[in-house]
């Protein structure tokens, strides 16, 4: 057997009393695209940070090409041929791209060359980072990492924020690296990508590596089962169970009606209806106005025109408070935007409740505690880090953002990409929860960047393109049809 390019042996790391990594053995061969999988909180990001010199491990060894190394800084890691693209772009918003490159001692001309290879040479490097859309920042980060010509390229959930065509370019680079006998460590929650593009995968669970195998073997079910261990029971391939269509009395209006809503003044307008008990899936490419549509529906931004009817009555929300009072609540994709990161779980769940308690005088602590613990139990939120919401893992934070509304009550739920960056097990818990809420009579609009979720969770799919709904498809529509429609093209065979 050839010598592995990267070999970690019994690497362990603890943050105070919280153990992030117990003992991880990871071996990446040269010319291998290696996937690192695991539920949220399994230790993937901690491992990447150790491999890039951001954190130092407490025990165990890291060896590159057989040489044990101690990495003290990102610069040192790069010198050893380990270059990362982190989950959040490591670009400074207030600087231009060129200034950012100079900081890391990268020649902008080299980056331009890499961008040209990715067919992105139209990017203006003198723009400030804050003025560029996120997907292109990820690509820039990738181009910068490539300039160092690393032996091991580490991609931490790079595809989570990328539209399909840019993801394809990332895969092309992974392939190129492989052909040059260099390696890639690929972290993604999208198992389809892992199966298609990775040669090996290592699954982490509870800070240990539990298995390494070829991801093509056994299929998605095996990967999920390995990731979750005992907890895998109850994960289904399809969360949606068609129930008999609920009888709606003729006189009852649909829960939410959107008519000719203009996201931007020049758009054609968005129209759709959602009934109680229904999950409407919204599919769209990056930047088709979905972010703003959700902000308008939740009362955060005003539309340029058109109307919104809630229970048959027009809603002119000037503030999220108005929408919430009409029972329309939003779970945004940026979880920390919805939460109070420094405050405990209990307060986070209770905050929307405060709208309903008398304005003056002390809050009834007993009732509050009861409602909060009901929500926590129902969502099985891991309460070990109960004191501060920001210390929860991504999946638990997402549950918390939904849990807030469970305790406070709602009638229409707007979910914006609710499973972005969440592990498969938690994803399935959220799918189940969404179905359960719909069966309980809620109307749900869910935007998702993962098209397969439409088939898994939704009753109906609407496709948004350029500020207008261009198609309504049944949930059984193939991903290919959804994607075709999302590009504004006619779907021929439905």
């Amino acid at each position: 057997m050839t010598q592995p390019l990267l070999q970690t042996t019994a690497v362990a790391k603890a943050f105070g009393p919280v153990v992030a990594l117990r003992a991880v053995d990871l071996s990446v061969a040269p010319g291998e695209v290696h996937a690192l999988l695991g539920a949220n909180g399994a230790g993937k990001s901690t491992l990447v940070k150790i491999l890039t010199g951001v954190l130092r491990h407490d025990s165990g060894t890291v060896a590159v090409n057989g040489q044990p190394v101690l990495l003290h800084s990102p610069t040192e890691a790069r010198a050893r041929g380990l270059a990362p693209v982190y989950q959040d772009p490591a670009l400074i918003r207030d600087l231009t791209v060129t200034q950012n490159l100079r900081l890391t001692g990268v020649d902008p001309a080299d980056v331009r060359r890499e961008l040209a290879a990715m067919d992105l040479d139209g990017l203006d490097l003198d723009e400030q980072v804050r003025d560029l859309p996120l997907p292109f920042l990820r690509m820039l980060d990738l181009a910068r990492a490539l300039v160092f010509d690393p032996q091991l390229l580490m991609l931490d959930e790079i595809t989570a924020a990328l539209p399909p065509d840019l993801s394809e370019r990332v895969f092309a680079i992974m392939n190129r690296w492989k052909q040059r006998n260099r390696s890639v460590l690929f972290i993604s929650h999208r198992l389809a990508e892992v199966r298609e593009h990775c040669d090996m995968c290592t699954v982490l669970r509870d800070g240990r590596d539990v298995a390494s195998f070829h991801p093509g073997e056994g299929g998605e079910a095996q990967i999920v089962a390995t990731m979750l261990g005992e907890a895998s029971a109850g994960v289904r391939d399809v969360a949606r169970e068609r129930k008999a269509a609920r009888e709606r009395p003729e006189e009852e209006a649909p829960r939410l009606v959107v008519r000719d809503l203009l996201i931007n003044r020049e758009d054609a307008g968005v129209s759709f209806e959602v009934e109680a008990g229904e999950v409407l899936g919204l599919a769209a490419l990056e930047g088709q106005g979905q972010d703003r549509l959700f902000e308008i529906l939740s009362g955060n931004v005003r539309a340029a025109g058109g109307e919104i009817l809630v229970d048959g009555q027009p809603m002119a929300a000037r503030h999220p408070y108005d929408a919430i009072r009409r029972g329309v609540v939003l779970v945004p994709s940026n979880r920390l935007m919805a939460l109070l990161p420094q405050r405990p779980i209990r307060e986070n769940i209770a905050v929307p409740l405060f709208n309903r308690v008398p304005r003056w005088g002390p809050i009834n602590a007993g009732r509050e505690r009861r409602q909060v613990s009901e929500a926590v139990d129902r969502l099985s939120i891991d309460t070990r880090a109960a004191a501060q919401a920001r210390r929860l893992s991504g999946g638990n934070q997402q549950k918390l953002t939904i849990g807030r509304w469970l305790a406070a009550g709602f009638r229409t739920l707007l979910l914006f990409d609710p499973t972005r960056g969440i592990d498969v097990g938690t994803k399935h818990q959220i799918y189940d929860l969404v179905r359960e809420l719909a069966d309980g009579g809620a109307a749900i609009v869910m935007f998702t960047s993962e098209l397969r979720e439409i088939g898994l969770v939704c009753d109906r799919a609407a496709v948004l393109h350029n500020g207008a709904i261009v198609a309504e498809l049944p949930p059984t529509a193939s991903e290919n049809d959804l994607l075709t429609a999302a590009h504004g093209l006619e779907v021929t065979a439905v």
Binding site: G105, D131, P133, D165, L166, G287
Partner: protein, 336 residues
Amino acid sequence: MTATPRAEVATPLPRPSSRLERFVRRQGWVVGVALLLGILVLWRSSQIPAFGAFEVRGIVAGTMTLALLAMAQTVIVISGGIDLSVGAMMVLTNCIAARLMLEQDLGPVFLVAVLCVVVAMILSGLIGTIAVVSGVPDIVVTLAASFILAGLALIVLDGPGGGTNLRFQELLVGGFDQPLPATLWLAGIFLLVWVPFKRSRLGIATYAVGSDRAAAFLSGLNVGRTRIVAYVMGGFFSGLAGVVTTAFTGSGEPRASIGATATLTSVAAVVLGGVNLMGGSGTLLGPVLAAFCLALIPPLMLGLGWDPNYAEVSRGVIIIVVVMIGGLLQIPRRSR
């Protein structure tokens, strides 16, 4: 399950913005403050029939200290900190300078001036190091430091006193009606210290650290060292402010209240000058122009025949109104 389908249509590249758009977006605030200053100067000159070298010298030399303190505050704020001890540092160097410069020749006086600036840089660097190493918020460390520096000033000079060399005064702040020296000094510091600094890797690092410490660290920067360097730069400017005070007043004045007021005015100039108090963005020119705006208000009030006590009120009103207008203008950008 099918494989991920290949996308036929490419995600469009963001539209590059034009030079003009970019200039307005990045320098718009400074241009705005410059316009405000222009209006205030015109107004002031219309109040005095013979607006000439004497008045210009008065404005430039009288504002030089505040402009330097605004520079000190700006560098530190851009790096993500805030320094509540710049005023006290100015008072301390003023006292040291006045005590040592008394009845000296020009040569030794210049040596003392350099010494004072170096002392301020060391002290400020020390304060920055404490803030960085201890992890205590900058605002707490520098507030505490301001008390220590104010006390030291009283130890150096227990009452108004000291003195300096007349020729030194003329060279630094100009004589009776000579505005050139003060203007040249300010312009020189800006061009020879700030412009090269801003273009250097260290300067970019200062902005980077103020904008996003985590991302700066991931870019391989030494965050702590960069922040300390910003404090040393701040010390350079506030030390200079103390030396200029000595030249302008010809004496030393250890009263702590002077330092406290100066510190707060420097923060006001930073805000009015368009520097983000959270760090990471802004220029040095904006706060300097803002310092002149703030300094012009009391004489304007006097010219209008108003009670000069209203000057403080109107300074506050101007800061709120300008920052509010600026905030409103920036909303479209944020919502993009």
